[in-house]
């Protein structure tokens, strides 16, 4: 049994991990995944080899309405001051009761 959901991908500074994960849960997501990542972008090279230059990627799967709420919250609170890339993509999930 599969259902259409949305996947939100957030790539941002590792220093925000605790705060963002808390916020995402408060907004109603049932879970999230955090991955250590590295790369390069607008704010320069993020080598990821020590905390201050480390990036994380947070993934959340949820319904379209919640995806809207979460991305809006990120936009208003973090886009101005932090290195943050956010994108949404449609995903087909199995066991839809998990989200």
């Amino acid at each position: 049994m599969s259902t259409e959901k949305e996947l939100i991908t957030i790539i941002t500074e590792a220093v925000l991990e605790t705060e963002l994960c808390k916020k995402i849960e408060q907004l109603g997501a049932t879970g999230y995944t955090v991955i250590d990542v590295r790369g390069k972008g607008h704010t320069g090279n993020r080598g990821g080899d020590w905390k201050e230059s480390a990036n994380i990627q947070i993934e959340v799967v949820c319904n379209a309405h919640l995806a809207e709420v979460i991305t809006h919250t990120l936009e208003t609170n973090y886009f101005d001051d932090y290195a943050m890339i956010v994108y949404r993509s449609p995903v087909t999930v199995l066991r839809s009761d998990k989200f």
Binding site: E13, V15, E19, G47, D49, K51, E52, Y78, D81
Partner: protein, 310 residues
Amino acid sequence: MIDPIILFFIFGFLASLFRSDLKIPPAIYDLLSILLLITIGMKGGVELAKQPFISLLPQIGVVLLIGFVIPLVLSPVLRQLGKFKREDAASIAAHYGSVSVGTFAVAIAFMENNSIEYEAHLPVFVVMLEIPAIIVGILLAKGIQANMAWGKISHEIFLGKGVVLLIGGLAIGWIAGPDGITKIKPLFFDLFTGILALFLLEMGLITARQLSSLKNYGFFLVGFGIIVPVLMAIGGVWVGLAMGLSVGGATVLGTLTASASYIAVPAAMRISVPSANPTLSLTASLGITFPFNVLVGIPIYYQIAKLMQG
């Protein structure tokens, strides 16, 4: 004779400068800093076990005061002379008010390498200097606001990795005492210099990477990153001698006041004062002040302490 640990720093710096792909894995770097912080904490704790804590209270009070005063003095200087906006001035001031444990470790190694006596309870001062500047920095940046998230901020300050490890080490050293600690001495104390050497290798790699941002921020930061540590070291040495420390002890206190944080403060400021540009303060503390203190500062501060002792 140049201390080999300094050569490790230069080695890392050059390797990164010439774009070698040499990297210390993040988990190893974490382990190195955990070992350094716990060992420094334990050294202080063992000393606390030997003498009554109450006799150190006046010194601790003075050192706490230094932590509050430095950012209060530096912030207006940065705003007036450096033309930095309020948040950036406050953030840089907080970095310089707080301390660098890496620099402290090099100062201790310098003392031991040259057989200079110093007070063994100095690690306690590291903890004391780590905290006040962060609080002052946040207040300078934001003013007193009714809606400050003090819960979040104090969590960041008192439960940050560095402070927790230092205090944990301090407590373990204090409770176990000089005799109890001998069992774990081989890993923490005997290997200290080797661990510090590897740590400095990584610091060299990181420092060289700050150079690219230096081009964008120019001369003021370079001047600030060198002149301010020397002035603060003179102040620190003077206070150290005035409160009865030995020449070695005053040198270490001077080195502490001269050093700038690059771990605890950047994280706390990033969370609490998001609009401050983190590249500015990190470039100054890590790209200029850290190498300056480690390579030339510490021996100079020792000479200053000897002169002031007269």
